[in-house]
């Protein structure tokens, strides 16, 4: 255990139980865990985190990081081909009580929904959608004015109107709310 000395004092060593249905996979995941400075413990031993290949072991009460698992109840969800640094980051985050999710596709949030006819809220105008796209890129009001070739005053007017229509207080919130709206409202013909 000579390599233990090389682990920085501040780096937390976590006890990780590795759950995989086949031995080579278990060995490969164990190697990643050890190389990240953690300790692999038996599935039934005291562990800080369970790293599960695929869906987690049923009835597991410890925080689980799944690789490719589909259970939304789990603390950590990574893709099946997550790399070593992602696995390490997820293990640490989940042990610290955080929730880890993949960016992008959140199918469950979209789900199978209804076509909405009366939306019950004020629709955005095409110009507001353009302004919003610029805000999403992190542009300042000045940059937005230049891009859309409108006055700074007009940009401020549109931003205020966006905040009002979306019920947002910050630019980030406006972008997030608009993107959620767009997901819900987009129809394909």
């Amino acid at each position: 255990m000579s390599n233990l000395a090389s682990i920085p004092v501040l780096m937390e060593r976590l006890r990780v139980a590795v759950h995989a249905t086949n031995a080579p996979r278990r060995a490969a995941l164990g190697k990643i865990v050890v190389e990240a400075g953690h300790v692999v413990v038996g599935v039934d031993d005291a562990a800080d985190v369970v790293l599960a290949d695929g869906d987690g072991p049923p009835g597991e009460t410890r925080p689980v990081v799944t690789l490719g698992g589909a259970d939304d109840d789990l603390s950590g969800v990574l893709s099946g081909d997550a790399d070593a640094s992602q696995i390490d980051a997820a293990i640490r985050a989940v042990a610290a009580g955080l929730v880890v999710r993949l960016p992008g596709v959140r199918e469950r949030e979209m789900g199978f929904g209804a076509m909405r006819e009366s939306l019950g809220h004020a629709l955005l105008t095409p110009r507001e959608i353009e302004v919003l796209a610029a805000l999403a890129e992190g542009m300042t009001n000045k940059a937005v004015a230049r891009r859309l070739d409108i006055s700074l005053h007009t940009v401020k007017f549109h931003v205020e109107s966006l905040f009002r229509k979306l019920g947002a207080r910050t630019r980030t919130e406006a972008v997030a709310k608009a993107s959620e709206r767009r997901r819900q409202e987009t129809i394909t013909l």
Binding site: A114, M115, T188
Partner: protein
Amino acid sequence: MPDQPDFLAQFSNALVTRAEAAKNAVVAIRLAHERHITGMLWHSGVVVASEQSLPRGDEFEFVAPGGAVMSAKIAGRDPSTNIAILRPAEPVAAPSIVAGEAHTGAIALAIGADGTGGASARLGLVNLAGPEWRSSRGGLIDRRIVLDLRLAGREEGGPVFDAAGGYLGMSTFGPRGQVIVIPAATIERVVPQLLKDGRIARGWLGVALQPVAVPDALRESADQSSGLMVMSVVEGGPAAQAGILAGDIILSVDGTSAHRLRKIARHFGADSIGRKTDLRLIRSGAVIAVQTTIAERHAA
């Protein structure tokens, strides 16, 4: 009252019996990375599953009741009603199904496949049993049934039963993780069509649209306050061929105002394919008319 049967134990035993019986109705459809979703044996030769959660592919392995691993080919999928059907390579005995009726407040038992030939169970209420609705993909769903229970991803697609053991439909996820049911009546209607053609024919223009407010300056010439802005155009699709551009705002389709989405959806049924359709739209500040020919929607 020692001779009184314990009501709670009876209730629990009844649920165990139901779950035990339902075990023979579910299969685990295997996906990549040791994941699975649930399918239901509609009859011995057909498995019904949730279309939105079934990856693309022609053939899937599945675990039949009891644990036998078999293969099944996709026989059809309909994103508009979220129904996919698979045909097992050899018939699997399927329990008989008696349709139930959803009532708000009634008990609902959702069954999933555990991946090894057994079942998992979830109990909740029918949170809401409402009228028919149209999905954002244009399909007609015979009833709105929302459940008050949690469901794991691997349980999606399993059958939902009422207290009498009647079949309410297939469990699936609605927006924001809400658990909803595709009613038995919808499955009964769609499965025979899928078996026959492999798909539900629908009209298609090849555009993604988002409702927008018509700018004040154009309200008068547009004669309406809202429209559908074209967010993207599918390359080579009918809309692209007609020269429709991202940013155009569709005001009406064959005279039907664009805010009447459900009426427009009806407009794109199977009989619409090949028909010419007139679009009124705003482009560069002017209202113009464009004609295009409705094509057939292919699997998404």
